[in-house]
């Protein structure tokens, strides 16, 4: 009797196990099918970056020629340099302004000022990029005509302002939760221990909100690297482009693909960007795993 029960039970368990495996494999194949589909365009570019042909879809033997072309292509290299400079500079300024903003708003005593700043912060987050870009253009023209006596304001600086506006609210929104989580007594304790206000801010508050600042900074860089519309509208001449209009990767690629297929050298560039992003993903994953292990170990020790 008991034995029979056991047999039935194990049969049940086996059935369930089989179902779980089926469930898992079906689910995973569904995920992978879409994952592969998502990467088709990029993968096609990557594969055809290793052959020297004008259009994709034809194979003319393996070659590194396109990579050699890429490193001699002044246009692309200039655009790449511009893109990186703009991304880094705008991200640094956004991070400083946004972090100060978040700290200031969090400790402001009046509720209405806090609500006001919060609501204004939301505007660029929800606004359409084209409206952000055009409203800035209109304002720069307006200011150029009426404030600066007919000067043409469009330059690296207007472009920089555009990119800062894109990312500034996201820095604020990334830092704010860290301030909420922080122990308010830390800052007071630093003051009691003889720190001046700015020392207390740097030594007590800063380390606590640093993760928020870092993710705000990284997000700013991503937003700036990917931007087309704001760049296309607010740019003028300057940076590595010299007297010519500033080209970033986005504007250069857009100008090229309007006329024809993605230029061959850009395929090589896609591969390099892909490899770089993949490396970043791998590093983040390893970092996450190490962190999770550390947290687990700490928990175990505290448990004892």
């Amino acid at each position: 009797m008991v034995k029979e029960n056991k047999v039935a039970l194990s049969a049940n368990a086996k059935k369930e196990k089989r179902q779980n495996i089926l469930h898992k494999s079906l689910g995973l194949s569904f995920i992978w099918i879409f994952l592969i589909l998502m990467y088709v365009p990029v993968l096609v570019l990557i594969v055809s970056s290793f052959t020297n042909t004008k259009v994709i879809g034809t194979w003319d033997g393996f070659s590194w020629q396109l990579y050699a072309d890429l490193f001699h292509d002044e246009e692309i290299l200039t655009a790449l340099g511009n893109t990186i400079i703009i991304a880094v500079v705008s991200a640094i300024i956004s991070t400083i302004l946004g972090t100060c903003g978040a700290i200031g708003v969090f400790y402001s005593s009046k509720k209405w000022t806090r609500n006001l700043v919060e609501n204004v912060t939301q505007i660029p987050v929800v606004n359409a990029e084209i409206v952000i870009a055009l409203s800035l253009v209109v304002m720069f023209v307006f200011a150029g005509t009426y404030v600066f006596a007919g000067a043409n304001l469009f330059s690296f600086w207007t472009l920089l302002i555009g990119h800062i506006i894109l990312s500034l609210p996201f820095v604020y929104l990334n830092v704010k939760p860290k301030l909420i989580q922080m122990d308010p007594a830390l800052y007071e304790a630093a003051l009691d221990l003889g720190c001046t206000q700015s020392q207390a801010l740097m030594k007590a508050t800063m380390p606590e909100i640093l993760p928020g600042i870092a993710s705000g900074f990284l997000l700013s860089i991503t937003l700036s690297l990917d931007d087309f519309i704001v760049t296309a509208f607010t740019r003028g001449s300057g940076l590595l482009s010299g007297d010519k209009t500033i080209e970033t990767l986005s504007t250069l690629v857009q100008a090229k693909i309007k006329k024809g297929p993605v230029p061959p050298a850009m395929r090589a560039l896609t591969t390099l960007i892909f490899v770089f992003v993949l490396l970043v993903v791998i590093i983040i994953t390893i970092y996450r795993n190490v962190k999770a292990k550390q947290a687990k170990a700490r928990k175990g020790r505290e448990g004892k």
Partner: protein, 286 residues
């Protein structure tokens, strides 16, 4: 309360300065920047939307832009087509993104965060480059934007916005209350009932924020429709761009204002469901 302690410490340290540092002053440059480059530009747009440029360049109050928009069948048509494309793209992205996010968050299927990262990774490759790649692959397969502008644009839109829907859906799914689902099953719900009566209502916030991230940006997108339809399909973003590049600022500003009004309406409609504002536009990637 806090400012009082600050004031006290300042007094106690015996500093009699004209200006005492307070933490809240740090917000001043931030706020000034926002006022100068967000609020004032929008105000100028609103001014342009309801004025007309006179012969001597001065602005005169008028409803010309409004009249010219609503009496132009092309412009109204573009608005309708954009709303339709936005809606269609949102529906397709949600229909595809929902099961993907569900399975990614299902512990029985996937426990690896790397897969989620892989879905998000295309977002880090320059989007103009990705759009060009999509167009080239589509023409290679025989789907030319010039001949099938709607299909080509739709594919490009889904390609671009699917990762943006998966991320918020995934974050909601991971937080689904498992005990509720178990309870529904124990109380006799079959699979369809459990899904419709429990899982779906629980994931509404994720659906709303995912839809928010697709609908408006699709309407106002410029590069995707312009590239994939070879200029054959004009969305609202393209027509605003066009008006400004032909220096029809009043008309362009009026359309930008329509965009702002639509955004405000959608914000009000989805207000109840919003959980975490920092989740928007790919935030939380890092």
């Amino acid at each position: 309360m806090k400012s009082k302690t600050n004031a006290n410490t300042a007094r106690a340290s015996g500093m009699k300065r004209f200006f005492t540092f307070k933490r809240k002053y740090l917000a001043i440059p931030y706020f000034l920047f926002l006022v100068l480059f967000v609020l004032i530009p929008i105000l100028i747009i609103l001014v342009y939307a309801f004025t007309d440029t006179a012969a001597d360049g001065s602005l005169v109050f008028s409803f010309n832009a409004l009249v010219s928009f609503f009496t132009s069948p092309t412009k109204v048509n573009v608005l309708v087509v954009s709303l339709f494309m936005g809606l269609l793209n949102t529906i397709v992205c949600l229909l595809l993104g929902y099961p993907i996010a569900y399975l990614l968050a299902d512990k029985k299927v996937n426990t690896n965060y790397v897969l989620v990262m892989l879905f998000v990774m295309p977002m880090w490759i320059n989007f103009v480059l990705r759009t060009g790649a999509t167009r080239d692959v589509l023409s290679w397969m025989g789907i030319y934007g010039g001949q099938h502008p709607y299909i080509a644009t739709m594919i490009g839109l889904v390609y671009n916005y699917l990762p943006f829907t998966i991320l918020p859906l995934y974050t909601t799914m991971i937080k689904l209350d498992k005990s509720q689902i178990e309870a529904a099953k124990d109380l006799g719900c079959n699979k369809a009932q459990t899904f419709l009566l429990n899982i779906l209502p629980q994931s509404v916030p994720g659906l709303v924020s995912a839809a928010e991230m697709v609908f408006m940006p699709t309407m106002s997108s410029y590069v995707i429709s312009d590239t994939l339809s070879e200029g054959k399909l004009t969305l609202f973003g393209n027509i605003i761009y066009l008006n400004f590049s032909q220096s029809m600022w009043n008309e362009g500003s009026f359309m930008a204002m329509i965009m702002l009004v639509l955004i405000a309406i959608s914000m009000l409609l989805t207000r109840r469901f919003r959980v975490d504002k920092s989740q928007q536009r790919g935030a939380g990637l890092w």
